[in-house]
Subunit: 700 residues, 2 copies
């Protein structure tokens, strides 16, 4: 049973200390506690509070001045914390199946504390674990038991130093030797070294290694996953033939040990092939449930969808943390005013509202979307585990693949840009490491790259949409999909004839207006992309060139616009459902409208270019509506942050603390630093060893 | 005399080693050596090479694995390197006056190596030094001599913990005591502590402190600068009454010790007032050459223009380094291809070209602009030193202030976004610390904030333009300025009637088309901003509110568009002048057109909204022209990088080395790291101390 925090909602959501933020809290249009309960549900709120309280009470999780931690020490501490999570055992295997959202809640709680911890845990339990579980068969389940006991430590080894996006070109080989019933894992040269593998640097004992499977007759069956032992669990020394090491310092997440490995004819037992999508009999025959290599390849990498959906959620968490810090700062930092005597909080400036509040709205809209997509994925996975191979399952898998492939770019970019804006919006204090915006930026950054480079991933989504249109044109197939994200395209000729009709700001204060605009936009970009692609092909480009030459102004914005539309539509439905408590309707409606209009306004050029907008007023109405919504939301901003911000201990930012005592918190944190007031140890280098000016000039 | 590298141009610009980048170099349309000589001039090239060679030969500058350096150690090393620069004495005071561009060349060379070093040196010599020189009088020149000998170490203390942008609200006080002929410097509370002051944390012995000057009669004369000794040069211990310390770790530039100081009734001699813009007689009367406080305040902070122009240059250097790394990577990294066997360099992808080449063009256009603005500023300063107070001087000062105030935001944001794009364009390898893109991002980031927050600064520029229009409307004054950046506005009614007429891609391949579009854009945004401001005032807003409510969609884009126009116009003139060697004309013309069109394309929405663009073709022609220019420039990209990239030792990025041996360089750098292949020192924590799963569950 999941442990719980005791007491009623009051104990679960205690009041904040009264302080400089009180004025904004008092002006909020709604109760933050009511929204928190509606948004998360009491069960998840209790679960998160349990985790946060455990971390805060445990000295192992005390914040250390990490400025001073060496890589080695940080990695040790991160390992110890990861091990401690196993001792808390926040979530049993049964809980996972009963309440899948708790899995992401656990990862998010650990990540809010420190992403190095969350990713170390996630890569071991979920990525290594689900690779074994989903790609293997019963004979491999022993590894699951061992990883849950931490007898072994796992990693997922796909990318190589010279290949990441183009996984098909991975060069590690696995030759089957029927004489000994072994696979021989081999890296032909250092360019084929496995690289960037999280947990591989110092900790992992076992890796799921992807290698090209070669049969004794010489045939290559493409990429397959194998469990390869890389270190001895008793000593953590490398296994014979394995050269394994640490790739060194990264821009962020330095508690996690990313590593490399080269294999010198490493022999592993026959049964270590994860054989769900392709198997080798002991005597050396190849068997696959799939007809062609392409289909099998797709299925063997299918597990990556989960990774992308996870990253959406992680990015949203980073955005939530950043806007929490920046908005509490903005509500308490005063600068300039109508008179020289009176200074106003910087949140009162329209410019500051416009810089930050759309990201607050995005943090809510994308959070809702990423949770709902996660639940769609759970449904899909449960179907797959049940061996359900219906046409609907296949279509659902494709649709989720398309959504995850654009959702990750949208969420990770929105977070990356939002964090940077928050950093700048906090001025110099945002540049101080202790205020955490730098760590958030650095830790979020790889979300744009791993599990598929954002720009490459977007092509999966545009290809999905172009494929649907092609089937429609060629075979008259309907636009419909299990989650109904593409069903509106059925009306595309009509939609393309629609025009923007809102003429006043009031018309635009609901997300229904941007929703209609987005539908037109997606139809337009889809038609343009399709025509451009065919034009490229007619002019003699091969398929590779033709697709490459359609990305910049066609397929890339198409994928992003489709994704934004899907997020906006889901959030619109959610905020307009009858189940929303009446006191929350206004604020949620504004968040929905603001996110939708703001995201849409990045496409204003195309809306004009394609004729949906015409005349000066169209653009101006949208701009004015955005500013109006910002102004309506600014008094709710602090209360909205109270809903999404973790406790102060976890947020770990003096300028973002819930009491709003900006300067007191900052000043005391400064004075708590090490050697703050001490004279530099190297003072004689200044005071005694004076330079002789120009002494070295003759050496030039 | 400036030391020089011996030998002819061949020794100055040796060939690059033949390697994987050769194919692109061979396809370049021009000689990189010819462009380097034309771009920098032989004198500057020799000067830079002298500095780079000195750093590379000196073990003190050997790159250390800074991942392992503690703050304390990094600051020590950075101080030792700064002291060593004095021993090299690269630039004598006479050189400074003879060739002012060498000052920025020196700062840029040090910054390319490490910005912590450059800023430490710059803050001491140039910022502290020029504050004393420009704000003081002869009695203060002794400090200049002492700082040049490093008898003392300087810092510039303006901002406080609770005030940065609103400098007028600075709260440190200076009361004059005629009895002892002393000023009493005092911090009323910790919120008035000087904060963020570079060099103050550990090193500085003397500070230029800005404080509100109070006379014995009680009158306050506003902010004035004072030289305050904060540490004893013999011991580096704080002076009595001074509490001085280190603000701790920042997102970047951690070799520089930023600090804070609180003053407890610290008495300093009467003569320590820097008295150029306001003086106190020994018996306590206030004298000023300026009529009102406002004017004097403006003059006393006038020195900040130099800082802003410097930051433009620093930002450009960061952009140059980042695009150098990313383009060499892109020319050697191969991924995917028309067939499964053949992979192509990622630079061949239109999407990758579009992501990177506009930033390469920006690196050239902004470099040219920042150098030319620096020379304008030198002219201004020389005039001011000559006590020239003509009307032209005043207008020139205003114009340069407007350009520096928007130039810093444009350059620092372009660099920040460009570095992020470069980081992502290098995929996972861009996220590896050793490849340096993270350090560049972190070190460039404060350029967006210090010496004036970007968004706040832009208001200086829009206010300048609105002021000119107001004078025109009210008094019929002409639009004209010493540097002629606003003279085109004289024709604004005609310009507003113009429309985009280019109908083919070919029409747009020269910067003359975007120049015309920019002129319309600035006229349109100026008129719109002016009308909006008056409308806000008519509807009852006070001046403060009215201006605040015009920023988002009016004054902010106005200032940026005006700045971009000015950069585009100067670069257009430069690249189209008769003095350009014929073999360089094509490539320079393309850079000019690409930067101009790409920057303009960020305003497409407004161009449509205001009616300059109409119909689908206008936007499409611009988009196609951008892609055409990218495709024309991609074979020149490596040679263009060869012009701007420093030597490998200084660029310090394995994936960006001039030989293009991407994987060999990366692999050998990985293996040179410390403890790469070592077992973790904490291995028994995994192998022996196994977790008892759920042991702590009862504690939850």
């Amino acid at each position: 049973m999941t442990p719980t925090v005791e007491g009623g909602p009051e104990a679960l959501l205690p009041d904040f200390p009264r302080g400089p933020l009180h004025a904004y809290r008092a002006r909020a249009s709604f109760s933050w506690k009511e929204l928190a309960l509606f948004w998360e549900g009491e069960d998840i709120l209790r679960f998160k509070k349990t985790i946060f309280s455990a971390l805060e009470s445990d000295p192992l999780f005390a914040h250390s001045p990490e400025a001073q931690l060496s890589l080695e020490k940080y990695r040790e501490l991160n390992f110890l914390r990861c091990r401690r999570i196993f001792e808390y055992d926040f979530l049993s295997v049964e809980d996972v199946f009963r309440s899948p959202l708790k899995v992401s809640a656990l990862v998010h709680c650990l990540g809010m504390y420190d992403w190095s911890l969350a990713t170390k845990y996630l890569l071991h339990v979920l990525v290594f674990g689900s690779a074994v579980y989903n790609s293997g068969s019963e004979r491999h389940f022993k590894y699951i038991q061992k990883l849950l006991n931490m007898e072994i430590f796992g990693c997922f080894a796909l990318t190589e130093i010279s290949h990441g996006s183009n996984t098909k070109a991975i060069r590690t080989t696995a030759h089957y030797d029927p004489a000994t019933k072994e696979f021989i894992i081999h890296s032909p040269d250092f360019e084929a070294a496995k690289f960037w593998v999280g947990n591989m640097g110092k900790t992992a004992t076992h890796a799921v290694v992807f290698a090209q499977l070669h049969m004794p007759g010489g045939q290559c069956h493409g990429l397959h996953p194998f469990v390869v032992q890389i270190r001895d669990p008793k000593t953590l020394l490398p296994m014979p033939g394995v050269m394994v090491g640490d790739i060194g310092k990264k821009l962020g997440q330095n508690g996690l040990d990313n590593g490399f490995a080269m294999f010198q004819q490493v022999r592993i037992p026959h049964q270590n092939l994860l054989n769900r999508t392709g198997d080798v009999t002991p005597d050396g025959s190849y068997l696959s449930p799939f007809k062609d290599v392409r289909q099998r390849f797709g299925a063997s990498l299918g597990g990556l969808s989960l990774g992308r959906v996870c990253i959406m959620g992680m990015s949203v968490v980073n955005l939530q943390l950043a806007v929490s810090i920046a908005l509490r700062f903005s509500a308490t930092r005063r600068q300039f005013g109508p008179t020289e005597e009176e200074e106003v909080p910087v949140l009162e400036y329209q410019l500051q509202q416009w810089r930050l509040l759309p990201y607050l709205a995005a943090a809510f809209a994308l959070d809702h979307f990423s949770k709902s997509l996660f639940l769609d994925l759970v449904e899909l996975q449960q179907g797959l585990q049940g061996e359900e191979r219906s046409a609907r399952q296949a279509e659902l898998a494709q649709e989720i693949h398309a959504l995850a492939s654009a959702g990750k770019p949208l969420a990770s970019w929105t977070a990356q840009q939002g964090i940077q804006e928050c950093r700048e919006a906090c001025g110099g204090h945002g540049y101080l490491a202790m205020n955490r915006l730098g760590v958030l930026r650095d830790d979020n950054d790889p979300n744009c790259t791993y599990e598929g480079d954002n720009n490459v991933l977007l092509q999966q989504t545009s290809n999905y949409l172009l494929g649907l249109l092609e089937r429609r044109v060629r075979d008259g197939a309907c636009f419909q999909s299990p989650l109904k994200t593409v069903d509106f395209l059925e009306a595309y000729p009509d939609i393309l004839n629609q025009r923007f009709t809102a003429s006043s700001i009031a018309d635009c204060l609901d997300s229904v207006v941007p929703l209609a605009a987005y539908e037109w936009l997606v139809c337009y970009l889809l038609r343009e992309s399709y025509q451009k692609l065919n034009q490229e092909k007619r002019s003699g480009s091969n398929d590779f060139e033709a697709r490459n030459n359609c990305q910049v102004y066609y397929c890339r914005p198409l994928a992003l616009a489709f994704m934004e539309l899907t997020v906006v539509r889901r959030f619109h439905k959610y905020t307009h459902q009858p189940g929303v408590p009446p006191p929350l309707r206004a604020v949620l409606g504004r968040l929905s409208a603001l996110y939708a209009l703001w995201a849409l306004s990045q496409h204003t050029a195309v809306l004009y270019q394609g004729g949906y907008f015409s005349g000066e007023q169209a653009g101006k109405v949208v701009e004015s509506a955005i500013l109006t919504l910002c102004s309506q939301l600014k008094d709710d901003a602090v209360a909205l942050v109270d809903v999404i911000a973790p406790p102060d201990f976890v947020l770990d930012s003096p300028i973002g603390r819930a009491d709003g005592e900006l300067y007191k918190n900052l000043w005391s944190s400064i004075l708590q630093g090490s050697n703050v007031l001490d004279r530099a140890s190297w003072w004689p280098e200044f005071s005694y060893n004076k330079p002789i000016i120009g002494r070295l000039k003759s050496k030039l």
